[in-house]
């Protein structure tokens, strides 16, 4: 086994390449589509930031870091990931408490934890940790899980979600929550329970409203009637709808979006970058982009079906679905289908932490897909 890398060096070129990829535990379809997406993202960011090279360099740096994290995680055996899951969860919960107690504020919310060397958002890590924990917890026993285990899994989900929502970071709480929910769904909880939970959530709506911060309520209200406050909070949605609608079928062309280049569209290189793409590349361009996203999600789900154990399946499946939730919530908010909840467009929006988290999750997918034991036959 130790000689494997040496052997692969002497093989023919394609075989050598596939051998190198296998040695690095890389899934080529996933890697190439992610690289393509990141490349497209940089091109769009170049336009959305109005040719700001500094921004582009920083994004490139983050992407590099993200892909390194992906590669690193791909090397770790799923068994190790599974073993670490409860510990990581425990540490993560402690960190969330720490954020609430000592966290640093940014934009009116406490999200950052300063560890001296690096500042980071523990909430972000839960996008990975929570699916890991649920997958670990449910994989211990036979599926579908028993009611008591389901309740326990529900609680494991609820604790970080509430802590994150308290920061307050509605977007991340939502993504973390769906991560846990998808893990449970994939584990095979009964449809009856799913519909009951759905109804319960609907009933909880007014209660949630009561606990919401004023700015969150404002966002919901603005979402319902954006034109009512065209100069305040509604401005984002109105301008992004104008950007998307005026793009038409074929778009205004790269670097030619008037809404973004004349600065009518706010947050155009971060959360609202989807509108820039729609404006400049039109329906055709956005469909092509969505196809690429769909391919990545489907590849993720395929990897999940091919996983050898329950932990791998649930983790791969829920991470892929969380990736989709990123896409849908962002696109939904920019097109005016969903409230504005501050979720970036995965791998394209300018911004650090989520980019690294997402690439890390694909690292785990690659790890699950490439570390397979030979089944006894």
């Amino acid at each position: 086994m130790r000689a494997k890398p040496h052997l692969s060096l002497h093989e023919s070129q394609p075989a050598q390449a596939s051998g190198l990829l296998a040695w690095l535990h890389i899934d080529l379809p996933l890697l190439s589509s992610l690289l393509l997406l990141a490349g497209i993202g940089l091109a769009i960011l170049y336009s959305a930031s109005d040719k700001e090279m500094v921004l582009l360099q920083r994004q490139l740096l983050r992407l590099g870091f993200g892909f390194m994290a992906m590669l690193a995680l791909a090397q770790i055996h799923p068994d190790n990931i599974r073993r670490w899951s409860p510990w990581l969860y425990g540490i993560g919960i402690l960190m969330l408490f720490a954020v609430i107690l000592f966290g640093e504020s940014g934009k009116g919310a406490q999200r950052w934890l300063d560890l001296g060397i690096i500042r980071f958002q523990p909430s972000e890590m839960f996008k990975l940790i929570l699916p890991m924990l649920i997958a670990w917890f449910l994989a211990e026993h036979r599926l579908p899980p028993t009611p008591s285990r389901m309740v326990a899994a529900g609680l494991f989900t609820l604790i970080p979600v509430l802590l994150i929502a308290k920061q307050p970071d509605l977007g991340t709480a939502l993504l973390v929550g769906t991560g846990g929910a998808f893990a449970l769904f994939l584990a095979g909880i009964s449809w009856r329970l799913i519909s009951a939970t759905g109804l319960g959530m609907a009933a909880l709506g007014p209660v949630a409203w009561y606990f919401m911060h004023e700015y969150q309520r404002q966002r919901v209200l603005t979402f319902l009637t954006p034109e009512s406050d065209p100069l305040g909070t509604g401005y984002h949605i109105i301008q992004s709808k104008i950007a998307i609608g005026s793009g038409g079928i074929s778009g205004k062309g790269w670097l030619n979006g008037t809404q973004s280049h004349l600065e009518f569209l706010p947050e155009r290189h971060t959360d609202f970058i989807f509108a820039v793409i729609s404006e400049e590349f039109g329906l055709v361009g956005i469909m092509a982009l969505l196809s690429l996203y769909l391919f990545i999600i489907m590849r993720g789900l395929y990897i999940a079906t091919q996983a050898q154990d329950t932990f791998g399946r649930i983790l791969a499946g829920s991470l892929s679905l969380v990736f989709f939730v990123y896409l849908f919530v962002n696109a939904g908010m920019v097109t005016g289908l969903l409230p504005v909840v501050g979720v970036p467009l995965p791998l394209i929006s300018y911004g650090g932490t989520s980019l690294v988290t997402i690439l890390a999750s694909f690292g785990m997918l690659m790890s699950i897909h490439t570390h397979k034991k030979l089944l006894p036959t």
Partner: protein, 619 residues
């Protein structure tokens, strides 16, 4: 165990596969909804959002037209637009404007008046409008601001065109002036045509010809960013500049008339008899209209407003004076036309007139009387008693009818704003206004142009022109026409009424008598007799202050302001009349000695040119 574990494994993996398939379908369904939404926005409502996007980035900017110039008949410029630099502040961007003004005050002179004007304008304008703090900056000041420019935000030097009146005081009342559009004017103007324009004609020609002088606003489509900064011009429709106006006014006559008034206040109106064109329209004292362009300071305005001389008042068309003896030729003509008196028929003047059975003595200016006077002598020597009698014979109804025909008591409809109508009294008028019947004694004093009778200097000049024209009445007008691009003139229309179809003999008799006022040895205006051309005129004296019965009239004791107004009307040359003139000298005393020489100077200049030389005889 292994058996069951493999079974479990298969079961679990099938369950999981089912869930993954459901998830995949959900993903595709949600993406379908998203694409549906995008289709709705980008295809179905594409036009709507394209319009909104255009609205966002494209702004229409007005291009204000350049205001038309005003010239006199010889092309002398009377009103022009001069580039001027003004220092403007946008309050929204300047932060604390008061602090900014203080700092600016260290760089250039900003006086109290500037600050007051700034505060006043600030109330009228919006926060993001640019408001001038200093106007007419000198080059040196512009340079000093440029050096310190970086220290201020929301402060800019703007190059604008400011209206300028090079003749200043000389044309103040006639031309009027422009000023910033006020709220009342905002109600009546077409605001879109005035977008980008902050000035409007307030008075005189500037006001009456506002629509021509203003022109038509142009538009340009510009691309702006979200901050409203203009990035480039997409489309431009240039403005249509205001028309250049040429007046009938002769600037030389205007200056001569103003100078000739000397110390006195008063008015001079001269009309070109052939066209009705106003050659001179002077009201003294004047004011500097340039002060009003950028908003006159409250202090300066108060000084003008409160002055006893009332410099803002346009005496030439708004001043209503008793016409005095200047109406005598007209009333004489009425007598001849109504055939109540003959030209040579004589009446005895004992120095006073009494109504039958009444004690009151209507005095003649000549205490001991003129003796036997014909109409000719009554005009030449200005006998009052003769006219008391003639007025009584004619009666107020016929006087009113006849004199109204010459335009007394009604506006001349000159093309200037704010003209007064004067007053030609009648029974009807007195009943309506005073609720009293007409008394015979009031008819007598109408006969000498006193009492209720009032006329403006322009009315007198117009009536004189009609007389000189033998009944052909031409409406007086200030503007000769619009100057075309090729230098030709699009003339303003001449409006003529042929109302007075009288016996030509009567005209000649009256004109002859008026000529003798100047030429005759006893003529009241014999001092202005000229050898170069013949003048027909009539002096007048209007009482400002009525002298009580049996009281001696002593000029010395009456304060200057209560002294009589001196009047003179004239036209020349007698044979081929070209110019009609009316002069009113406030508190000037006698028409013959004060008012007539002023008229003479104007007529000399008009008829003889720049160097009258030896041809005129000062007498």
């Amino acid at each position: 165990m292994p058996q069951s574990s493999i079974k479990d494994y298969l079961h679990e993996s099938q369950l999981f596969l089912g869930r993954v398939i459901v998830s995949g379908m959900l993903v595709i369904l949600l993406l379908g909804i998203l694409i549906g939404r995008l289709f709705y926005l980008q295809v179905e409502n594409h036009d709507h959002f394209t319009t909104l996007s255009q609205d966002n980035r494209v702004k229409l900017e007005p291009l204000p037209p350049t205001r038309g110039l005003i010239f006199d008949r010889h092309g002398t410029i009377l009103a022009q637009n001069l580039p001027a630099y003004s220092l403007e502040i946008i309050p929204e961007k300047a932060g604390d404007p008061d602090a900014v003004i203080r700092q600016l005050g260290e760089i250039i002179d900003i006086d109290e008046e500037d600050i007051i004007r700034f505060r006043r304008l600030r109330k009228q304008y919006r926060r993001f409008d640019s408001i001038p703090i200093r106007v007419r900056l000198k080059d040196e000041e512009v340079a000093r601001i440029a050096v310190n420019r970086h220290r201020f935000s929301g402060v800019d030097v703007e190059a604008t065109l400011l209206r300028d009146y090079p003749q200043a005081m000389h044309t103040a009342h006639l031309l009027g002036y422009v000023g910033r559009i006020d709220e009342r004017e905002l109600q009546i103007i077409d605001t879109s045509n005035y977008s980008g324009t902050s000035f409007i004609g307030k008075n005189g020609v500037e006001k009456s010809y506002e629509s021509l002088l203003h022109g038509k606003v142009g538009l340009q489509q510009v691309e702006v960013n979200a901050k409203g900064r203009v990035l480039r011009v997409l489309e431009s429709h240039p403005p249509q500049p205001g028309s250049n106006l040429r007046l009938f006014l002769d600037m030389a006559l205007q200056s001569i008339a103003l100078e000739a008034l000397g110390e006195y206040n008063g008015a001079v109106a001269a009309i070109d008899i052939q066209t009705g064109g106003v050659l001179t329209l002077v009201s003294k004292p004047g004011f500097d209209p340039n002060l009003f362009v950028e908003g006159i300071s409250a202090k300066a305005y108060e000084a003008l407003e409160k002055s006893l001389d009332n410099p803002l008042f346009n005496r030439a068309i708004r001043g209503q004076y008793p016409p005095g003896s200047t109406v005598k030729p007209f009333i004489g003509l009425a007598g001849l036309e109504y055939d109540v008196v003959g030209y040579h028929q004589e009446t005895y003047c004992p120095g006073y007139y009494q109504l039958p059975g009444k004690e009151h003595k209507y005095r003649d200016w000549k205490k001991w009387g003129h003796g036997e006077v014909s109409m000719e002598r009554a005009i030449v020597e200005s006998c009052d008693v003769y006219y008391y009698g003639l007025a009584r014979t004619l009666g107020i109804d016929r006087l009113h009818e006849f004199l109204s025909g010459f335009g007394f008591g009604q506006p001349t409809k000159v093309d200037l704003d704010g003209e007064m109508a004067g007053l030609m009294p009648s029974r009807h008028w007195k009943q309506r206004k005073r609720r009293e019947p007409w008394y015979p004694g009031e008819t007598l004093i109408v006969g000498i142009g006193q009492g209720y009778f009032l006329a403006t200097p322009l009315q007198l000049a117009s009536a004189t022109a009609t007389l000189a024209n033998q009944g052909r009445h031409i409406r007086p007008r200030v503007v000769a026409g619009i100057e075309q691009a090729d230098g030709s003139l699009q003339e303003s229309p001449m409006i003529v009424d042929e109302l007075h179809q009288f016996d030509p003999e009567h005209w000649n008799q009256i004109i002859n008598a008026m000529a003798l006022v100047v030429e005759g040895p006893r003529g009241t205006a014999r001092s202005i007799r000229s050898n170069a051309y013949r003048i027909a005129g009539k002096t007048g004296t209007a009482q400002v202050f009525s002298v009580k019965q049996d009281e001696e009239y002593d000029e010395e004791t009456i304060a200057k302001r209560k002294r009589d107004h001196a009047l003179f009307i004239a036209f020349a040359p007698v044979e081929n009349p070209r110019i009609a003139i009316a002069v009113v000298v406030e508190n000037g005393g006698h028409g013959g000695s004060v008012a007539a020489p002023i008229a003479k100077k104007v007529m000399d200049r008009y008829l003889l040119g720049e160097n009258p030389g030896t041809t005129s005889d000062a007498g």
